[in-house]
Amino acid sequence: MILNDFKAGAGAVLLREMLLLKVKLTRFGFVFYSLMSPLIYLAAFGFGFGSRISFDGVRYELFLVQGLISMTSMMNSYNLVMTSVSFGRLHNKSFQTIITSPTSPAAIMAGLILSGILRGLVAAAVIIGAGYLLFDVFVLSGFAAVALLLNLAFFSGLGVIVGLLIKDMESSAMIMNFFIMPMSFFSGTFFPVDNLPNAVKGVVYLFPLTHTNIIMRAQTLDGAVIVSGLILLAATLAVGTVGTCTMSNYSE
């Protein structure tokens, strides 16, 4: 009974998000806006440095595609979920319809995270496809799948929390500039974290995206991969819990 309620509630929230996404996908500007930056990074860095650089015997193009999958999935899941929640709360007030429905906070949280995962998977698929077409590299391993799913779940959950807490849309730009953007560049997307000074490295290992990239590029299941996996899993469970509590205590 409780499980059925949870599934139905999460499904209802997911249905709304997917209907909204369907409408948005018909607009060229939306697709362009979401994927243009990572595709430009891929083309510019890939063609610019690709054949001249390799890290530990790994072609730079492969390294870059792996990093961009992590970054793009993070950006898309976080941005789209955060915008959906905050815009629904602060502007068109449609979020109030969800919060005053009999759907449990945990189910709302799950529905929103699932919607972020699906949106992020679409974005990641575009980068995987572009990497294959442009540089003949194909990133699809068990490690990559785990990294991608954990990354999407964490950043979708984070998007819900930020969306629930911000007071205006300007605050979201601040979080983007101070947290998401530095993470995009320093977490091993374009170059190995090991190249950074030790002091910076200490901070960078606090970023979830760094651990996504470690798992994404893993060849074997070694200690570092297990630790990164556990950190990412714990972070994902933490945002899920915090998000559900924030939803439960939501008050205008």
């Binding site: 249905l15 709304r16 909204l20 409408v23 109030q96 005053t100 009999p102």
Partner: protein, 278 residues
Amino acid sequence: MILVAENLSKSYRRVQAADNVSLRIDVGEVFGLLGPNGAGKTTVIKMISTLTHPDSGSVVIKGFDIRAQARQARSAFAVVPQENNLDGELSVVDNLRVYASLHRVATPRAAIDRIIAEFGIADKARVPVEKLSGGQKRRVMIARVMLTQPELILLDEPTLGLDPSFRRDIWNLITRIRRQGTAILLTTHYTDEAESLCDRVAIMSKGRIIHEDTPQNLITTAGSFVLETTDSNGQRDFRLFTSQEEINRSLIDRKDIEPYTVRAAKLEDIVANVEHNH
């Protein structure tokens, strides 16, 4: 009782938006919260609808405490807020689908077809909500909550900003919903709306309920007659009286109130009197 709200208080920073508000609404009753903008009506609706946590007080809907048994309480009521909260990019039918899904309507397709036919919105069913007029959006918002056949509807300023024909249209919808036995808590600052639709009315001012009764009893108790006067400086004023004799007595020895008129009191006069005195 479908709704029992007791001693609800809420303040935002230093503004007391609701101060010890208590309400009881019977099954099938239409109860109006009447008052000017800023009286605290929307805050009360938001607290009852679980959107705003009260600083103190309690709300029980159909026997369920909204804090401890929020999900059960939310199954018994529906909210139509003051502002349009439909998803503008989605069509009318998609908005209905999402709502039916959120509220676990057992046979959603049949319920949506029924509501579309009942509310006469078949020609707009596939139209994105953002393309509808204000009155049409309000009609869809009311239609949407009827998908779940709730036992209590919270209607916040249902005709605010609508032209007279749409206002009349919404009044007819509310009358129809009431006939189905649904209780309605309605906030409005239109006295004619409250007088025409409500069984009982509470007049709010500065976050407090000042009077509560049937519209007719409020008029009778506060004064059935109004003496409108204009003093020598052209300043207009009015006073409520319970009888014509009382008016006559008050006019003796007052030569400075020329001209004056006497007429039957309306709910509007009672509300204006409350605003004047509080």
